[in-house]
Symmetry: C2
Subunit: 206 residues, 2 copies
């Protein structure tokens, strides 16, 4: 692409560095901003810089939070002895939306991925291990994505906790509610048969 | 969506104001920026604000340009008596890529659209009419999109130029090179038959 302006080219380049946004989409977004009142561009730029500069993570669960301790960790009604291990803030939001979990979270900030150069020390795994060793934690629920990296991360944490008095579980994998069996992939269907649930307990969850 | 941080919520809100970007995508983009070195966020914010603050339009064709007169208008080899009327800088870039046009452009900055409250005065139509009235323009080529708004804009400019010695044309609509007839829509196929080209002249353009 040949641009008629270096300023335009630079803005398009920076926007196209975002994931899933190519040069064409970036140009469309930049031209849209140019047509809008200048306040919109200032607000966008400010919001991004302010977030980056003033971002704070809960000292307990490492979720993004404006306060030293996030609302979930600060809530006395929630059970701090059950900790759900998730990858990032999106997973916390998704699980909170279900209203089915009343424990605490631990946000890892990613998954172990040798391909992308992410090791255990780049995540908040040491803090999690320290927390469990400190006592008071009865169960860890692994809620990472069912991928090679997710499984590796689960297993790494599991090994770190060997010998400690803490139960570990992973969220159930199976056919989504409302899905047809014939369209399910083999691995998921296989797991849903392997980890079948007593009929009585499936009645309770409805 | 319930966010654990006002800063995060604000950044997601501002990003989701961009066209075609919903809240989920905005959150993904913002979390991506958070994982990157802070320089990337600063560069992005700077590039957008700088473009908005220092944006300059060519005084002749109204295309985005870093100089008072853009490279195309300043090029003495280009024919200033033929003006191609386009909507925005993307159309200029697309036509320049074909290397088939050696005239000047006139960038309208949009199309007349009563639905979106865009009238002739919001575009650079008055400047175009003044330019043609000033003399020296032999032909205007309308290259707006073939939509209700594009046709309205073409017709409005055409009426404004009544009585002036200037030829007007629109770019050819027809079956794209390489396309199969059976998949073409009726309007396009109809136009391609109505505006058929003498076979000898089609040979020259190959």
């Amino acid at each position: 692409m040949e641009f008629s302006s270096k300023l335009l080219e630079n803005a398009v380049y920076e926007v196209s560095q975002l994931p899933g946004i190519g040069k064409r989409t970036a140009l469309r977004l930049v031209l849209h901003l140019l047509k809008q009142p200048e306040q919109q561009t200032y607000h966008l730029a400010n919001a991004l810089v302010k977030l980056k500069d003033e971002i704070n993570f809960c000292k307990n669960c490492h979720n993004i939070s404006d306060t030293e301790t996030c609302e979930i960790c600060a809530n006395p009604k929630r059970d701090s002895s059950i900790i759900c291990v998730v990858e990032d803030v999106r997973d916390v939001m998704a699980i909170e939306n279900t209203s089915q979990f009343q424990g605490h979270y631990h946000v890892l900030g990613g998954k172990i991925s040798p391909m992308e150069g992410v090791g255990p020390q780049d995540l908040t795994i040491p803090a999690l291990v320290t927390k469990v060793k400190g006592g008071g934690v009865k169960e860890l629920i692994f809620a990472l994505s069912a991928s090679m990296e997710g499984d590796t991360t689960n297993f790494y944490i599991y090994k770190q906790l060997e010998g400690l008095q803490v139960a570990t579980s992973t969220i159930a994998r199976g056919i989504a509610v409302g899905d047809e069996l014939e369209y399910a992939d083999e691995v998921t269907l296989g797991r849903s048969i392997l980890h079948r649930v007593p009929f009585e307990s499936s009645l309770k969850s409805n």
